[in-house]
């Protein structure tokens, strides 16, 4: 489909058709205080050579040659060149939203396959075409639980990613939704002893991340009956999608929200990412966003359509299930291509490598005097360590060794000031893990 810009004559014609004198008149409903009355302060245009030089200089600012142990919701994983090559095809890269099924079969089929893969991975029955990212998917999952239960409270694990909790809080503030945080035990898992029957009986959902922010895998099959016994739903969040290659899928959860960046999407500047929402078939009417269905045409041939669109904003306006009216199609496609390349065995193998390398790193690091694992619960490829010295000081020294060290947990968990989060994926060579452990050992051996 072509997009041709309009000239002054066409604009005038359109204004006349709707009975307006000028474009300014169309904005009169926006309060004056929110109107920009001066030009935007943007830098001037650059020549082609200037633009290339500008981006070269920005690219050179990347921390090349550093070894990073950062994770916390964004993970460095193997990405095949095949993925980037395919998603840059014009049919995918510049295609518009596939409202007209007749001309968008390829796009619709790729989305349908993404939905299918997400259902298979999460153990759920229906998944949508994707959300902006994991944090908005999680928030939409909570709002979905609120609609399903007609309850306005949610019990949210403190071990849910702090930034996800911030996004949820922003929505909650304007949606008359009460968020109560639930603590964790020495295992790093949800402290179920603080979930009272009264609080559960008023809760739309118990919201838990697994593996959680501390890398600890939660006992989802045990949590579901606790929530369900009091009419609350269980919402499970996944920020490290590769974990599904080896961790049991959260089939007992009622709604699953996930960040799928680990499937073939580069970490970039922390985005753009791709969110996933999956749930049970019986809840599909309350699911937000775009949904592709498989149908057949008048001659019985397979075809794809946007389905159940009456949940969506372009049909239902303010009564829609959500104000999301698009999806992260290109990165959902990247995830689909990535998963098809990896296959079932490949994903399992990748997850196994993450598990092995992270556990090797955990063992090496906790051999260092004064360094211990903060939590006793099972971990996948990320874990929290307690150090005898400030994590910030350790990181400062590590940078000189070209190592980006643990993420200090004290920023978001004031009681964990001596703790840092370490992620180890399949991309990390064994020698680098050993160099990391040796560097920390040396830093801690120095006199304070």
């Amino acid at each position: 489909m072509r997009y041709l810009p309009k000239g002054p004559a066409e604009r005038q014609e359109m204004l006349e058709a709707i009975g307006a004198h000028n474009i300014e008149e169309l904005f009169h409903s926006i309060p004056d205080e929110f109107r920009l009355r001066e030009p935007l302060h943007l830098p001037g245009p650059l020549s082609e050579a200037g633009i290339i030089e500008y981006f070269r200089a920005r690219a050179a600012e990347n921390a090349r040659g550093y070894t990073s142990f950062l994770g916390a919701g964004v993970y460095q994983h193997f990405r095949s060149v095949v993925t980037d090559a395919l998603i840059q095809r014009g049919e995918f890269l510049t295609s518009y939203t596939p409202y007209q099924a007749e001309i968008a079969q390829g796009t619709l089929q790729s989305i349908f396959e993404f939905q299918t893969l997400m259902c298979q991975l999460t153990g759920q029955e229906v998944a949508n075409a994707s959300m902006y990212d994991g944090s908005t998917a999680l928030t939409e999952a909570v709002l979905m639980a609120e609609r399903l239960t007609s309850r306005r409270n949610v019990l949210v694990a403190r071990t849910l990613h702090p930034e996800y909790r911030q996004v949820l809080a922003t929505y909650a503030k304007h949606c008359d939704l009460n968020v109560t945080e639930v603590g964790f035990t020495s295992s790093g898992q949800l402290d179920t002893s603080t979930l009272s029957p009264e609080s559960l009986a008023h809760a739309a959902a118990v919201v838990v991340q697994s593996p959680n922010y501390f890398g600890v895998v939660e006992d989802i099959p045990a949590l579901a009956p606790i929530a369900h016994a009091h009419g609350a739903l269980l919402v499970t969040c996944i920020t490290e999608a590769v974990s599904l290659g080896i961790v049991r899928p959260p089939a007992e959860a009622d709604i699953v929200a996930m960040e799928a960046q680990s499937f073939g999407v580069a970490p970039s500047f922390g985005g753009p990412f791709v969110g996933v929402i999956a749930s049970r078939d019986k809840f599909v009417r309350q699911m937000p966003g775009r949904l592709v269905g498989q149908a057949s045409d008048a001659e019985g041939r397979r075809g794809y359509v946007l389905t159940l669109a009456t949940r969506e904003q372009h049909i239902r306006r303010e009564k829609a299930t959500s104000n999301i009216c698009t999806n992260e199609a290109l990165f959902a496609l990247a995830a689909t291509i990535h998963l098809c390349l990896m296959g079932k065995e490949g994903l399992r193998e990748m997850a196994q490598q993450n598990l092995s390398k992270a556990h090797f790193a955990l063992a090496e690091l906790t051999k260092i005097p004064g360094v211990r694992h903060c939590f006793s619960g099972p971990v996948f490829n990320e874990f929290a360590l307690e150090f005898p010295r400030s994590v910030k000081i350790i990181n400062h020294a590590l940078l000189r060794e070209k190592i980006i060290g643990p993420l200090p947990l004290g920023v978001n968990y004031p009681e964990q000031t001596k703790c840092g989060l370490v992620a180890v994926t399949e991309t990390m060579p064994r020698a680098e893990i050993e160099r990391f452990a040796a560097a920390i050992r040396q830093i801690l051996a120095r006199p304070v």
Binding site: R285, T310, I315, R316
Partner: protein
């Protein structure tokens, strides 16, 4: 289809049948014709409170989604379970078998201000001529 005199009708094309303090609510034959093939009905929960003129749910057809406005005030006491599995019944028998909800009326006299069968028949005939 005729519009029986025993029912009362709204301008938004819902009907109510009052028996004592119980009201049975549905959409009219005119409404189902305008909607086309109904594929889904979203109804309130049993026990929820309805106010006359306010939305009680939605009817979705292959071409539109429409709000259903309650003709009466009261508490929902029953839903028509038939419709969850067979929403197409609304096209077949909208003023009989395919009722939507039963309501315990808070003001049983409220429905008297609505149109009777003859008045509604005249109302929709005039509407049809507009088309």
């Amino acid at each position: 289809m005729a519009y029986p005199s025993g029912l009362r009708y709204t301008q938004q094309h819902e009907w109510v049948k009052v028996e004592g303090d119980t009201g049975t609510v549905g959409i009219t034959d005119y409404a189902q014709q305008e909607l086309g093939d109904v594929v889904y009905v979203d109804l309130p929960k049993i026990g929820s409170t309805l106010k006359a003129g306010e939305s009680l749910g939605t009817v979705e057809s292959v071409k539109a989604v429409s709000e259903i406005y309650s003709p009466v005030s009261g508490e929902v006491t029953a839903l028509n379970d038939l419709l969850q599995g067979a929403p197409e019944k609304i096209n077949q028998d909208p003023q009989g078998e395919a009722w939507l909800v039963r309501v315990k009326l808070s003001h049983p006299k409220e429905a008297e201000s609505l149109m009777d069968g003859a008045a509604y028949d005249a109302y929709v005939s005039a509407k049809s001529k507009e088309h």
